[in-house]
Homo-oligomer: 234 residues x 2
DNA sequence: CGCCGGATTGATCAGTTTCAAGGCATGTGG
DNA sequence: CCACATGCCTTGAAACTGATCAATCCGGCG
């Protein structure tokens, strides 16, 4: 079980959309569009490391966008086995469920700041604005695409292939100046890939030995040979 | 590799919506709603066993609903390893991708008849009718929910737990008169659960030995103890 | 400095896959 | 009607991948 910091979310700021932000991912654009269309006042909230943002089964009150930090969304089995469905990095939208309750739990991986809009307002906007409705659909479809790719990984790739895929995904999503600063620990990576933390560690060590990557520290990685990774990725 | 029957789809019928059909699943309702809203002429097509309905990467020309038979949608790795993302049974809608191309391949498991509507028309309807737009979203969200549950299964459940989950899912979706007639072979089940066909067979044999289920034939199954299965399911 | 959480590494174990053989049902042609 | 081929399923034995258990190691921080 993970340590659970019990903290009440703190409002750190509140501003009117659209707000300019450094790095705008496609999903971020859509978020801005729907928020703007809805004419919403979006707030910023901050969460501490390991703090729960929402829980499995809770009503969907907000839709979130990561500003700083990182978020994991996961499901648990009775005995505590955990499957992380996705990591959400700056720019990413999460917590958008079509139903009335969340079906995964969301937690801050590191200290994290999110922008959020009330789901009720979004819903209303979608009811009168087809552009908003279309964006809700394509955002959910983007999550589905990721889930489909991830099912292939979980069901059919070997440990090394899983780790190679993970590295390429993270490289694409958060590499800056050729360097990757992973926000999550080995256990998180394992629970994302359907592996144990030891297997993840061994695979990374092996890639390091082969010169495919270089560690600055355990979580600071430079990829030296993306092609080799892409080959392993199957 | 599966045997590929090369056959051109045959139009067997064409009728105007809404058409009454015996068993209406929730998704079926939505399909009818969107089709009705779009004022679409829906056709019926038939596919032979193992025939491809659409391929990974092909443009999304139609959205489909299973009338009779069963469909598998899957992804492949370079070397042929296959992950089946979902089985589509009578009433189910499939082939609804928000993007412009399909990201999985769809094949008929048995001889299958589908109803289909042109995606272009649906798209247009969604642009002017928020009810249609909303239904597209909730259908995609339903697929996402299934994928999220399935990631947990693929990444974290044991072979026996996977098979138990599979049996309960199929029981819920296609049991008639307490009897389940599986349309798919052991290899399909394995590729859905991230197992080999032998492991699936062994798990089923073990459940049979324990009296949890009874085989009429290899694919005709009666569940004798759903509670035991639910317990294994974790 | 010593503690602590996270990461690495080693040794062994277990579950699943792989390889292989055989059974059973279905269908076809002699 | 029977012999045989075929596809699918079951079962067994061996091999292997990844998990588990356990011992450091390392870096940051009080």
């Amino acid at each position: 079980m993970l340590t659970q910091t019990i903290t009440v979310p703190t409002v750190t700021a509140a501003k009117v959309f659209p707000a300019a932000h450094a790095k705008i991912a496609p999903a971020a654009d859509q978020f801005s569009v729907i928020a703007a269309c809805a004419g919403v006042i979006a707030s910023e909230f901050s969460y501490r490391k390991d703090e729960e943002i929402y829980g499995d089964g809770e009503p969907c009150e907000y839709v979130y966008q990561v500003i700083r930090g990182a978020v994991r969304t996961y499901k648990l089995l009775n005995d505590g086995r955990r499957q992380i469905g996705a990591f959400h990095l700056p720019g990413d939208v999460f917590g958008l469920d079509a139903g009335s309750t969340h079906r995964l739990t969301a937690e801050a991986i590191t200290d994290t700041t999110v922008r959020l809009v009330k789901r009720r307002i979004l819903e209303a906007a979608a009811g009168s604005n087809v552009q908003v409705a279309h964006n809700l659909w394509t955002m959910t479809a983007g999550d589905l695409r990721h889930a489909e790719d991830h099912m292939l990984l979980l069901g059919r790739k070997t440990a090394m292939e899983k780790v190679a895929t993970f590295l390429l995904e993270m490289d694409r999503r958060l590499a800056k100046a050729g360097m990757m600063a992973l926000p999550m620990c080995r256990r998180d990576i394992g629970d994302y890939l359907g592996l144990t933390l030891e297997t993840v560690s061994r695979a990374l060590s092996q890639l390091s030995d082969q010169g495919v990557l270089v560690f600055s520290s355990a979580r600071q990685i430079v990829l030296r040979n993306r092609q080799r990774l892409a080959d392993m990725d199957a």
